[in-house]
Subunit: 133 residues, 3 copies
């Protein structure tokens, strides 16, 4: 378990910095080539790296000064040395100007269920399911 969790923690940290800084392709590459992203915030699942890149590009454009804060990461179930399920909570934190001063708020908090597989030696997300809590 040990090494896998650490690699996954690192990947999830990188993933947040990627989407929040507009590095859309880097974000998409945290998924497997055919990775799927499902969220109740969006009408349809996003499938595959090309669509994931477009999704992240649009997200960054439409959500300035937004942070994906990943917490409570744990391996929920180890399926094999190359496959596991990881649970975490994601806080969407936004900074806005209000009456001349800045206001930082938690826009929403979600639970994230990730199906991780080791793809070409590297942990990648095969499927992410977001639940609004």
């Amino acid at each position: 378990m040990t090494g896998s969790l650490l690699e996954i923690l690192n990947l999830l940290g990188k993933q947040s910095h990627a989407i929040d800084s507009g590095a859309a392709q880097q974000w998409a590459e945290t998924f497997t080539p055919h990775g799927v992203f499902r969220s109740p915030t969006y009408a349809e699942p996003v499938r595959g790296r090309e669509a994931l890149t477009a999704f992240a590009t649009a997200f960054a454009k439409n959500n300035p000064r937004t942070h994906h804060v990943v917490t409570n990461v744990c391996i929920d179930r180890e399926i094999s040395p190359d496959e596991c399920r990881v649970k975490s909570n994601l806080l969407i934190v936004t900074t806005t100007q209000q009456h001349g001063s800045e206001r930082v708020a938690i826009n929403r908090i979600t639970t994230v269920d990730d199906h991780f597989i080791r793809h070409e030696g590297v942990w990648r997300i095969a499927e992410r399911i977001i639940t609004r809590d």
Copy 2:
């Protein structure tokens, strides 16, 4: 240190998901059989798995849409390979409906001092002391 911290990070993540999803017994099992939970929010310490399970059941019932967000986890003191003190901060994050829209707020932030021991090969909390900051 290395392996222990990772197991403890995983356990603390699981613990938050357990109490927030109402898995009271799973939460209680992150403590040793005679584990103690002390918090200024509650009049009396909670002692032992049966009482801890009842506590978590009541918490989940009385606190819908609440997340325990664990952060700043570190091993404060290594006592032996099977015993250590771990410090963290815990944010209690709640989602409520307000004037028809959702509002996510940090209800409180606390410091958590955990006395961990390796019980039957697994890290468990022998005593947790919460301090309101």
Copy 3:
């Protein structure tokens, strides 16, 4: 990577507890002896342990009931086994009294770029650059 990230996670956790509890010297010791702290919140960089200790002392005095919540920690670039760049996000969370009840708020969220080096066998921050997001 694995072991380094874990030691760094532990150090960053300890660092937050240190500054928030007024343990100024302990905070300064998470930097190398000539470590530098750069933040747009402050007019000048803070250089070296003596100045860092004074900085942390003043911070704790002027910011009661404040928490440094470190999240999204990842190794951004491995330079050598003894040198790496680490990215994280830092939330400054404050608790204040307002109309007789307590209010917990995120005061600001920043991106932290740390240049870590292994100094006398221990990871230390040679330079920290804070960006206000």
